[in-house]
Amino acid sequence: MSFEFREVIKDFGGIRALDRVSFKTPHGAITGLIGPNGSGKTTLFNVLTGFLPMDGGQIFYKSDRIDGLKPHEVVELGIIRTFQITRVFPKLTLLENLLVPTRTNLMSDLLRRPKTAKKLEKAQRLLEIIGLDAYMHEPASILSFGQSKLLELTLSFMIDADMVLLDEPTAGINPSLQSGINDWIEAENKEGKEFLIIEHNMEVVMNLCHHIIVLHNGQKLAQGEPAEIQQNAEVLDAYLGD
């Protein structure tokens, strides 16, 4: 088990965005988080990564309690996320963008140069994979929406994170690149990286994920292997309406 949610509650004013959500994600897996719009998926990410305080419950990662940590403390534990709306740093070059992610904030590290030979090599390799290596020294503001999403995804691979949270990584990206990204995620997973992915494309979810959690109106509706979820009457209801 890597993540464990126990009765997690998040309220926005009178609206309960997460309603006693409890689940465990299996160790070493690519876990999919699905649900209709407004079901609480991104809120769950924000609570999990310390961007939003929660109103009840507990969250554990590898049996350590992590709720209440600040966003950078979550990253220091080896958990990194991407954002649904891409948030690359527009006036920094692609290379500088890739040098930003870090797992340490110690003073001795802050006074080092960000560009080490190892980091540079890794950044170059990742930029080659997404086909942007020619623009390494250009500001990120020149990128198209799709390219920004790719860069954002690449950012999360720059540090040796154990767990990567992806919020709709392939939304708005052309199908051939999409399958490239999914192959990449699978390859990283085989190397030992775990993933928790918000994804709307059912075909992708069913093929890519080992385990699926379904949210609906802030509650966990179902959880299980892709084949089970596909047969689940409640899930079909939630998606197709009644």
Binding site: P71, V75, V88, K91, T102, N105, L111
Partner: protein
């Protein structure tokens, strides 16, 4: 180019003894220190302070009080002034750096105004008359020279420090915060720690130069130390030169101080302020990246950052 200017500045007082020219150069060095140190949180991190003069004033009063009442050697008081300024920045930073954009700017403005009133109203600081300091023992034709070199040294150290910081992980983290603070946090940057360090460093140098300038003027009072004109000038110089760059503050300080001298003679003090107001408006509309972005307008620019872009970006 940089080396040549440095050599010229080092030898300048040996050949030129004109008191007024030396005074203008000292004023430029003081402003380079103020604008460059403002630039670290203001230009590189995106936290625009309207109250940077506070640290200059704290430095001035620290030196005046220590020299007059405790007979501390003057040069040592400069260091203490810097440390005291940084201490105030540490406390104030933790409180105010939670605020963003205009809210942060207003908080800094309020703090600087409060600082002025504290020194104006407490008897021990001499009220509106301030504190008189001992006269220089040197003869009038060379008395400016130690201050010339002192201010030059502080301006150079400030510039070097800010430059070196921009080359570190800390500097990259600060720029990431400017570009998108939430994303920076998501990438593992301890944003509070980064901002507070930037703020502490940025307060040290104005503290030192405030002390030096006080002993140069041989007095302090609330207006010489806390005038809102300093903060306004810092913004004007930063924007005119090009914020978030190393050369911008130097260029901006030199241009504004020299223009001030010319305008004071040609159109008078009040007229000068009107012209600078118009200049600031013009820059904001037509050249938000500052004078350094002039060449970028014709080519592709990536190093200069627009003051107005970063404050109007969507949250």
């Amino acid at each position: 180019m940089t080396n040549l200017v440095m050599v010229l500045l080092i030898f300048f007082p040996i050949f030129v003894r004109d008191r007024h020219l030396l005074h203008i150069l000292i004023a430029i060095f003081v402003y380079v220190t103020l604008v460059q140190s403002w630039n670290l949180p203001g230009g590189y991190t995106g936290y625009t302070s309207f109250g940077h003069v506070l640290f200059f004033g704290i430095g001035g009063y620290t030196t005046a009080m220590l020299v007059v009442f405790f007979s501390v050697p003057t040069v040592i008081t400069y260091l203490i002034a810097g440390i005291l300024s940084s201490l105030v920045a540490l406390i104030f930073g933790y409180i105010s750096l939670r605020l963003k954009g205009p809210y942060f700017a207003i908080a800094t403005l309020a703090l600087a105004t409060m600082g002025r009133y504290v020194f104006l109203n407490f008897e021990i600081f001499g009220g509106a008359e301030g504190v008189l300091m001992p006269m220089s023992p040197l003869s009038p034709d060379i008395e400016k020279i130690p201050y010339y070199y002192g201010a030059l040294l502080v301006a150079a150290l400030t510039t070097l420090t800010v430059y070196l910081i921009t080359k570190t992980r800390l500097g990259l983290g600060l720029m990431a915060i400017r570009e998108n603070e939430e994303k920076a946090a998501g990438a593992g940057i301890n944003t509070t720690k980064h901002k507070v360090i930037a703020f502490i460093v940025s307060a040290f140098f104005p503290g030192v130069i405030g002390g030096l300038y006080a002993s140069y003027l041989e007095y302090v009072n609330p207006d010489s130390c806390f005038s809102i004109l300093y903060s306004a000038n810092i913004l004007l110089m930063a924007i005119l030169g090009g914020i978030g760059t190393i050369a911008g503050p130097i260029l901006g300080s030199a241009v504004v101080v020299i223009l001030s001298e010319i305008f004071s003679v040609v159109i008078g003090h009040q007229g000068r302020l009107i012209v600078f107001g118009l200049l600031l408006t013009f820059m904001a509309i037509y050249l938000p990246g500052g004078l350094l972005s002039v060449k970028d307008k014709f080519g592709y620019g990536k190093k200069t950052v627009s003051f107005f872009d970063q404050n109007t970006k969507d949250e």
